[in-house]
């Protein structure tokens, strides 16, 4: 009766994990395709306001980002709690904006210059004084196309 010999009991067969890498690779590729690299580390708080009459910003290479807001808690001992501007990776002053714009323009091809847009990522609690100083500087260097980056949602309910 050898054909019907019982298997040894109590010995669970190992689960086959050979396809696990395939699954994880699939996830990995999804994230690689669907996301973009984070380019700057924010040193300021950046809780964007909400609006719903918005347009998408395409062509990422033609956008210059200007961030503004209160310094993050761990930088507050160095920079204080007053709202600050961040250009690329460092905190800056309003006077540094023209230089930043010229620097950005120098890296772009000449025919693309009129398409350059300045995206303002400003914290919702910032005072308009700082924002209009930024706008004044941008006017001075003829960077007239701007975009107030916002979250998508009902403006009346979310900003009250």
């Amino acid at each position: 009766m050898a054909k019907f010999a019982k298997k040894k009991s109590g010995d669970l067969p190992a689960v086959n994990t050979a396809s696990l890498p395939d699954i994880v690779f699939m996830l990995l590729f999804f994230f690689m395709v669907a996301t973009t690299m984070r380019e700057t580390t924010l040193k300021i708080q950046n809780n964007l306001p909400t609006a719903n009459q918005i347009e998408k910003l395409d062509k990422k290479d033609l956008i210059m980002y200007v961030y503004a807001g209160k310094p993050s808690p761990r930088y507050q001992s160095t920079y204080g709690t007053e709202a600050k501007i961040q250009l690329n990776d460092k905190l800056a002053d309003v006077n540094d904006i023209p230089g930043f714009i010229y620097e950005e323009r120098a890296t772009k091809r000449e025919e693309l210059l009129p398409l350059l847009t300045t995206a303002l990522k400003v914290d919702g609690d910032t005072n308009m004084g700082l924002v209009s100083d930024i706008k004044q500087e941008l006017r001075d260097v003829d960077a007239l196309k701007i975009n107030y980056v916002t979250k998508n949602g009902n403006a009346v309910e979310a900003n009250n």
Binding site: P21, V122, R139
Partner: protein, 206 residues
């Protein structure tokens, strides 16, 4: 000679490597695309520029925001939620006659309000102490008022909302042929309700 089996490569740690890569990408990337309200700043003022034309009081819709984020619209306080309707009412008034008549306006033709959407100007004055999110929501409501009227006219003429046509036009995937089709339509609607939103430099005091 006995056939020797090639030893199987142990792929057990492959999953670990893949997980490591996956976590790296999860941490260093963001999924969002940016979107927001697009504006165009006025060019730098020239010293020998001719003085601006005189604007009649009735064609001007003044919205001011103070340092406490309160709204003052045409000398009356107003809640943010009523701003859109008030702006639509002002823009769509169309009380003009003769050359200034507006044959597509559906407003109440109030004598003390704007004569024609092409003449109507919204002026936004804010204080240096106004919060940015209040400024954005006021901007948003005013843009919404323009979009509402443009959508209405666009639905009448082309059976398609203006905002929809605009987003198709701005989509990089749209072919040049479709864009050429859309451009005159967008321009025509923009001419009917031109976005005349002027911003004064903020006041520093209350």
């Amino acid at each position: 000679m006995a056939k020797r089996d090639a030893p199987e490569v142990n792929a057990g740690s492959m999953a670990d490597i893949a997980f490591l890569l996956l976590i790296f990408f999860l941490v260093t990337t963001t999924i969002e695309t940016d979107s927001g309200i697009s504006r165009k700043l006025p060019p730098k003022l020239d010293d020998n520029q001719p003085p601006p034309p005189v604007i009649k009081e009735r064609n001007l819709f003044v919205v001011s925001v103070n340092a406490n984020d309160d709204l003052l619209v045409e000398d009356e306080t107003m809640d943010l939620k009523d701003l859109r309707a008030a702006a639509v009412k002002f823009l769509d008034n169309g009380a003009g006659t003769g050359d200034e008549a507006c044959n597509y306006c559906q407003g109440s033709k109030d004598e003390s309000s704007s004569v024609n959407p092409t003449k109507a100007i919204i002026s936004l004055v804010n204080n240096r102490g106004t919060s940015y999110k209040r400024y954005i929501s006021v901007q948003n409501e005013l843009v919404a008022a323009y979009n509402e009227l443009r959508d209405r006219e666009s639905m009448k003429v082309y059976n398609m909302a203006f905002t929809e046509m605009e987003s198709i036009y701005n989509d990089p995937g749209t072919s040049e042929k479709d864009k050429d089709n859309l451009r005159p339509r967008l321009e025509r609607i923009r001419e009917m309700y031109p976005e005349k939103l002027s911003e004064a430099e903020p006041k520093s005091s209350n």
